[in-house]
């Protein structure tokens, strides 16, 4: 990947001496400190971010993404446009070489991902976003790991939002269907009571009906005042519920506007929404 000799297993796939399941891919980063910054125009903003993985080439080029409380911001774009990368940059999973990430009036560019969790950012990865061997309830408990107070209220809220999870709470999360897994994943992230929720393709691999339902739930979460930043493959549906849309092309902002504006923009329609 990055030419690190320690990351070369020379084709050894012997599972009787090594366990590959669940190996972490988030690169290790020594976190710096958050510094107070001038209150920007948005609650969370990744401002003119340029960067890439490790010592690799830049993937993002002066990309800007922002979201405010009560809003849903959606990042769309063609394959390989750097949508997920932009989200990961906001979460500190790659090196932002220039530009800043500001959260609630603080510059958090130097923070490690785990410190950002403590600052109140919730992240739902696209894949491997649940603990498959743990029960649904244990998944939610792990979501609340950083909380030392009583989180039963939050858990009840999550169960209200996703009633099916309450029914299956003692079942191993790995036994659930695709849509239910996504609900567990979102529920886990909500357990920290995040100040901002980031979803990486929450509807990847679920049926259209389940997708509509998930979008409804996401709107419900946004109504409670939590800003939501979301990467979506299904551009049209996503832009329909978006307050703000970002179209990325090759790691750059190509179009920015409200969801409605983008849907009506002939250029965007022609190139991304299929006419």
């Amino acid at each position: 990947m990055s030419g690190n000799p320690y990351q070369d297993d020379r084709g050894n796939k012997d599972a009787s001496i090594t366990k590959r399941h669940g190996v972490g891919e988030i690169p290790y980063r020594k976190g710096g400190k958050a510094t107070p910054a001038a209150k920007g125009e948005a609650f969370l903003i990744g401002d003119t971010m340029t960067g890439g993985y490790g010592t690799g080439p830049d993937i993002l080029h002066e990309c800007t993404i922002a979201v405010n409380p009560g809003e849903i911001a959606v990042i769309v774009g063609p394959n390989g446009a750097g949508k997920s990368t932009a989200m990961k940059a906001v979460f500190g999973m790659l090196d932002v070489r220039s530009g800043h990430v500001l959260l609630d009036g603080e510059d958090i560019t130097a923070l490690s991902p785990q410190d950002r969790v403590i600052k109140g950012m919730g992240f739902v990865p696209q894949t491997n976003n649940i603990f498959t061997s743990l029960t649904v309830e244990e998944n939610l408990e792990m979501g609340a790991f950083i909380r030392r107070d009583d989180f039963r209220g939050t858990m009840a809220q999550v169960y209200d939002l996703f009633p099916i999870l309450k029914e299956k709470r003692n079942q191993a999360a790995g036994e659930l269907s695709g849509g239910q897994r996504q609900q567990v994943a979102v529920g886990r992230a909500l357990m920290t009571r995040p100040k901002v929720l980031m979803l990486d393709e929450p509807t990847a691999g679920v049926s259209p009906i389940v997708m509509d339902e998930l979008f409804d739930r996401i709107i419900e979460v946004a109504r409670t005042g939590i800003p939501i930043l979301m990467v979506e493959q299904n551009a049209r549906q996503a832009l329909e519920i978006a307050d703000k849309g970002y179209v990325l092309v090759q790691g750059r902002n190509a179009f920015t506007g409200t969801g409605k504006e983008l849907l009506e923009d002939p250029e965007v329609r022609k190139s991304f929404l299929g006419g």
Partner: protein, 336 residues
């Protein structure tokens, strides 16, 4: 009467030794399976960690014995055990800081950590021999038997005696306590659940605010306790010799793999499977069969399938069979 004699002989020579050996293997395999499950590599230094823990405990035992401090009928080693665990924990966490952490930060592939653990094994091996020497060490004291063969014969009136050594009774009880504590910890406590979560999905654990370094530290602490307890019990039961502990690596890994790597329940089951196979295959059945069969059929030979010198071959063969026909182990572990 013959049937009773046969049962007693079988219990005395097969069941009791196999249960206590199985418990020791189970404790060892639990440690291996924990490291495999949470740190994701097979720790080849496990046997020598057991030797180190046992060695420290022996040194403390001698010191206590020198001061005249004993536990009456129980071995003094029990008193020294917490100190042994503490020193072993320091060694393991120190090793992790100096060696393993570097590779974790590099996101090194697990197979590299396997080889690293091989290096750690040689170092620990050297440390133990340097401090206590390569020879046999005796450190058991207190009452030798819970039930002695002569008392049993007098009490039952049978020809066959049944002896249960204090160390054997102690092994089984300690193992039950250790396993119960471990399961309670992993399934009921917040830290235990976070360890399972980390084992399941490192990245998501990180995104949930679980500190990986914490999880790793707790793992080493538990492993220190398990290895030291296993090492001391084995030493009490047989004797302490560094090389024997190094050799134990094979049956321990066989137990962990037979049970299913990454599954604590499997480690225990695997320990007993290996121990019972080893003991039954290397046991001379002449006596038991002599009681059971009619006189005409009494075997003239020893009816020993394998010499005890080959006992490691047994675990090796079982390991091969399991890897061929049920690679995930009895309890659906992770190995494929």
């Amino acid at each position: 009467m013959d049937l009773l004699n046969a049962i007693v002989a079988l219990t005395n020579f097969v069941i009791v030794p196999a249960v206590s050996y199985g418990s020791q293997l189970a404790l060892g395999a639990l440690g291996v399976t924990l490291i495999y499950g949470i740190l994701r590599f097979s720790n080849f230094a496990h046997g020598d960690t057991m030797a180190f823990g046992a060695m420290v405990t022996i040194l403390f035992t001698w010191w206590f014995q020198g001061m005249g401090l004993t536990l009456g009928p129980l071995p003094t080693a029990l008193l020294a055990l917490p100190f042994g665990i503490a020193v072993t924990a320091l060694l393991l966490i120190g090793t992790d800081r100096v060696v393993y952490r570097f590779y974790r930060e590099q996101k090194a592939k697990p197979v590299i950590l396997v080889i690293v653990s091989l290096g750690v094994m040689f170092i620990m091996n050297g440390i133990v021999r340097f401090i206590i020497g390569p020879d046999d060490q005796q450190f058991a004291d207190g009452a030798r038997f819970i039930v002695s063969a002569r008392d049993f014969k007098e009490w039952s009136g049978l020809d066959e005696g049944l002896a249960i050594k204090t160390s054997q009774g102690l092994t089984v009880i300690t193992t039950i306590i250790a396993v119960a504590l471990l399961f309670w910890f992993l399934n009921r406590t917040r830290t235990g659940k976070s360890m399972r979560a980390y084992s399941d999905n490192e990245d998501l654990a990180l995104l949930s605010g679980i500190n990986p370094e914490r999880v790793v530290m707790y793992t080493w602490l538990i492993v220190a306790a398990l290895t030291t307890v296993a090492g001391v019990l084995y030493g009490l039961d047989k004797s302490f010799k560094p090389f024997t502990y190094f050799q134990l690596l094979l049956p321990i890994f066989a137990s962990a793999i037979v049970g299913g790597l990454g599954s604590p329940l499997g480690a225990i089951a695997g320990g007993f499977v290996i121990a019972f196979s080893e003991v039954t295959i290397t046991y001379a059945w002449k006596k038991v069969l002599g009681y059971l069969l009619p006189d005409a059929l009494e075997p003239s030979g020893l009816v020993q399938l394998l010499s005890t010198d080959y006992k490691f071959a047994v675990s090796f063969v079982i390991l091969l069979i399991v890897l061929l026909f049920r690679p995930t182990g009895l309890f659906r572990g992770k190995s494929v």
